[in-house]
Symmetry: C2
């Protein structure tokens, strides 16, 4: 086991297990390979559908869509459809739908967060400004809407309309809790269940819907997606205070600088003494931060086991997700969904 | 004829014909009265559907939806359905859909324009900030989407998905032309045809769709709506340089202060000499304005007949809209749509 120590932009050094990092990346590559042809078809649909005579649209949308991303959400639709024995092509268009909704949400989040770095490159917002992010996000959402209507299934429309509504409500809910460091775990979980996990759930459920499978399978895939989504977000929250920039394309401390209240903070705040709570209120509520504060935040999070416990919580949801898959036959697609759970949790190490 | 002179907040005095103002308002009241019960039902649907346990949503959405507005778009769906002999209740939900889409667009426009006053009250943005405007706009759009899916007609979904897509593209197109005072009339018309008129067209067409009328009637109502929408926007553009604040709930010069390129400016710029063009570039492209510039802008617009000619253009579209109605039987609904054209153009006086 080789251990290296490398500093992020904020000089927070953290030991990293390179073998593990390689393994998690290998997992993701294997999942991509399983649905490689379909994923390429999804990318083609995305490119076709973001075309517009208004040049700014493909420029900006291309920037955010092409800038990588792990394509986890569309991959879920593709693998879930495969798991359900689906042989048609509707899952490709619907996977593109899901990615468009996700991208529209990212663009609108950019307006909100003023984050400078997402997926390792400058955000669309930093390059084109607020206006463009809002309007191109709307454009992508409308394209997603068109794709669903072309698919022609009211059931699919119902699932995605419901998801959109819940996601939007979750975003507003987050906004209203965003500046309150005393947010409790319950309230935080409500936010990420809506804002992040709902789209994962819908993406998975669509696989069963296109394959016309019984309600139990729809429900199982929905549950898998929902719990995977929560685990994914929780690990992301922990990584924001521990990831290596090179590896994850995100800077350590983005959430901290944006004053975002995430589960590690919720836990550390509740477990902290009055001095520590004052620290969190100053840095996150008042956004009054100096150069040493991120290091202090990380020290407090570790002192209270808040990062480790956040990952423990994620592990719980991953376990629930795994059991949701029990009703499906063993095979490559089921293994892939199971490996994805490992990937999501192992990223944290 | 009583003439009064009254200054707006920017001390631009303009003679106003009060009798005419009273007449146009009376027209609008008569139109509302024609579909009063349906409009009340629309308002109930709107209130129900913007309910959310997340308190900020009804607060903010209520602010913008309740703050009045003329409800012209939902009224169009209601009257068009009546014109087509429709007797059901789908038109009520779809009219609410249309108003939600309109409101979502307004909220997203607020992010863009930083306008301080819309419909005579502070914009949602000024009170709640950019974030809230974007996210509550998304929420309203998702609610509209849900309503359409509940309606259950793929044809309706297709019309509204198409409209959303065109509107979003129009918004981005406007963004890319927004800072170019040399925008030509053709390009400007493309923007407002997409951004404003498309929703008017869809709102009207839905009336024929719910009533299951032949394609010719759908097409006629779509054309009526499209042309009415263009006329409406052009008159709005002219009013921005001539309206009384009290009467229209908008300040004179909002577009000017926001650096918006509208048809009056397009015309005055093309007709102006080099000094004048420099003036427009400085004030609108560079947004370098002093207290006397709005008065000078209005002087130049009038000197070149740009405001009058913008209203002339609007009259042309109103005439086309009127002829689109020819295939329908005479009666109250047809008269109402015809009077609405008068209202839209007469507002300019």
């Amino acid at each position: 086991m080789v251990k290296t120590t490398r500093g992020g932009t904020v000089s927070i050094a953290k030991p990293v297990n390179d073998d593990r990092a390689r393994n998690t990346r290998a997992t993701l590559d294997r999942l991509h390979a399983l649905v490689a042809a379909d994923l390429q078809a999804v990318n083609r649909v995305i490119l076709e559908r973001m075309h517009s005579p208004v040049a700014l649209i493909p420029q900006l949308a291309g920037h955010i869509i092409a800038s990588g991303g792990k394509r986890i959400r569309p991959m879920l639709t593709l693998i879930a459809a495969r798991l359900c024995g689906y042989r048609g092509r509707r899952h490709v268009d619907l996977a593109a739908c899901v990615e468009f909704i996700h991208t529209a949400t990212l663009l609108h989040d950019d307006v909100v967060d003023e984050s400078d770095l997402r997926r390792g490159s400058a955000t669309a917002n930093a390059l084109w400004g607020n206006k463009a992010s809002v309007l191109v996000g709307d454009f992508l959402f409308s394209r997603s809407f068109r794709l669903m209507v072309e698919d022609g299934s009211l059931k699919v429309l119902d699932i995605l309309a419901d998801a959109s509504s819940v996601i939007a409500e979750g975003e507003v809910l987050q906004l209203t809790t965003a500046n309150d460091v005393g947010t409790d775990e319950e309230a935080y979980m409500a936010v990420i269940s809506a804002k992040t996990a709902k789209l994962f759930a819908a993406a998975c459920r669509l696989g069963a819907v296109v394959a016309d499978r019984p309600a139990a399978e729809e429900s199982a895939l929905q549950s898998y997606g929902q719990n995977l989504g929560i685990a994914f977000q929780l690990v992301d929250d922990a990584l924001d205070y521990s990831a290596r920039e090179v590896e994850l394309g995100k800077r350590v401390g983005d959430d901290f600088r944006d004053g975002k209240i995430t589960l590690p903070v919720v836990l550390a705040y509740r477990r902290g003494n009055e001095d520590e709570r004052r620290f969190w209120r100053r840095t996150l509520e008042d956004r009054d931060q100096d150069n040493h504060d991120l290091a202090e935040a990380i020290r407090l999070l570790n002192a209270h086991g808040a990062l480790g416990n956040t990952v423990d919580r994620a592990r719980h949801y991953a376990a629930v997700a795994r059991d949701a898959l029990a009703i499906f036959e063993d095979g490559e697609p089921k293994n892939a969904l199971s490996e994805l759970l490992d990937f999501v949790v192992e990223r944290a190490h």
